[in-house]
Symmetry: C2
Subunit: 281 residues, 2 copies
Amino acid sequence: MKTVTTFSELRLARQQLFEPVGFVPTMGYLHEGHLSLVRIARSDCASVVASIFVNPTQFGPKEDLSSYPRDLQRDLVMLEAAGVNLVWMPEPGAMYPPGYQTWVTVDEITKPLEGGMRPGHFRGVTTVVTKLFNAVQPQKAYFGQKDAQQAAVIRKMTDDLNFPIEIVVCPIVREPDGLAMSSRNVYLNPSERQAALILSQALKTSQAAYIRGERSSSALRGIMEQVISSEPLARVQYASCADAVSLVELDGPITQRTLLSLAVFIGKTRLIDNVVLEPMA
Amino acid sequence: MKTVTTFSELRLARQQLFEPVGFVPTMGYLHEGHLSLVRIARSDCASVVASIFVNPTQFGPKEDLSSYPRDLQRDLVMLEAAGVNLVWMPEPGAMYPPGYQTWVTVDEITKPLEGGMRPGHFRGVTTVVTKLFNAVQPQKAYFGQKDAQQAAVIRKMTDDLNFPIEIVVCPIVREPDGLAMSSRNVYLNPSERQAALILSQALKTSQAAYIRGERSSSALRGIMEQVISSEPLARVQYASCADAVSLVELDGPITQRTLLSLAVFIGKTRLIDNVVLEPMA
């Protein structure tokens, strides 16, 4: 496994990779969710490139940029074991040099959910992903369904801007007890870790009601809110039942592919999770 | 010379071109200025791709989108004679399908000059050029110095977004009497055509003063305004003396590479022209 930091090192190393190239962009502090992306890329592509970059432009001024967990040596061991060929760790000063002033924005689909709670977040995401795509030039890129809106936004951007890249969205990886894997889970103390199960439980309960025949979007939202309200350490930020492609909040009976999604504070830690409801007769 | 319209036709035809590929994006109604870009690309690259697309998103609601001159058959004859290998003529509906919502914006450098007079213009330009770059995947792309701010904006965007593309800016091509070539010159009636010479004359007069030792930016602007005021059919929109890279208007004595630029209405036709002043002792 080769590791590079500068754009010129990347360019040289990229030229020597076998095609097609699969790309897994990360912010580091890796877990099984990231590694599942690498393994799927490994099985799809002749080479796999991963990037590790805690992108400052997708954090709000009151968010956890400075405290975001980092462990580069552990990350590199994990990526090598998972079969990555090339790791790129760009420097923030090279990604956003003085005078930097170009932004990629996606409009409607970034407004609800995470975009509503984290202004500017998706502008940072779409801009950095455009930069990473242009620098790495992959044929395929892998994102996790855990960040469902991010995956939908990247798909929309890739399509709208005609990137010659296939976006592959991979299933959420969960701990044995159901907690969706996230680098931010490290923030949780033991009682919060237990309380955090309420997200997957709320989603499961609502999904079960859907499978039993409940088609009312407000009822499905209500079930999630009710389950979360039973956990004293949890405070719901949003509980959404939205069209899975446009992310427009649904109102009335569900007929299409639907995203149930949650953002919940467990103490000071903000966690998200989701499940997709497939259309049923 | 091959001509294609759809993205899938383009992808196939692009794969068969020898590398490196040079790209000349145009809005059609070609003149010697465009052909000079093709000839320079021809001498630099193994293959040349040209696009013809009157991009709706770079026209303001009161601008000349619907009346913009078109002559596709003539354009194709000229491109073939100049040695283009592949012409791409995308359909507006394929470039901006229903639900399109992704935009590329460059901030500071798009605010003065053309950006100040044409709100949204550069957002349309940078978005379509990103789409064209992603679809054509050239190694080099050629732009005319006639649209000096556009060239500076594209350079900045390409650099900021890490496109692996070299931007080549080619000199202004002029009619024998000095008028900068432009597809919009066709709008001029005979007396306006004569009056339009005032743009190049104003630039030349100001440039001559600079060469004779005049270093005051306001004096150089004043010379341009004075020359243009001598032409009854002309109405100046801006006369600028700005840093050639940042496009920030200069105030005080000139020491750096400087762009003198003009936007002038001749009757109802808006024309632009410019000249670069190189630093002198």
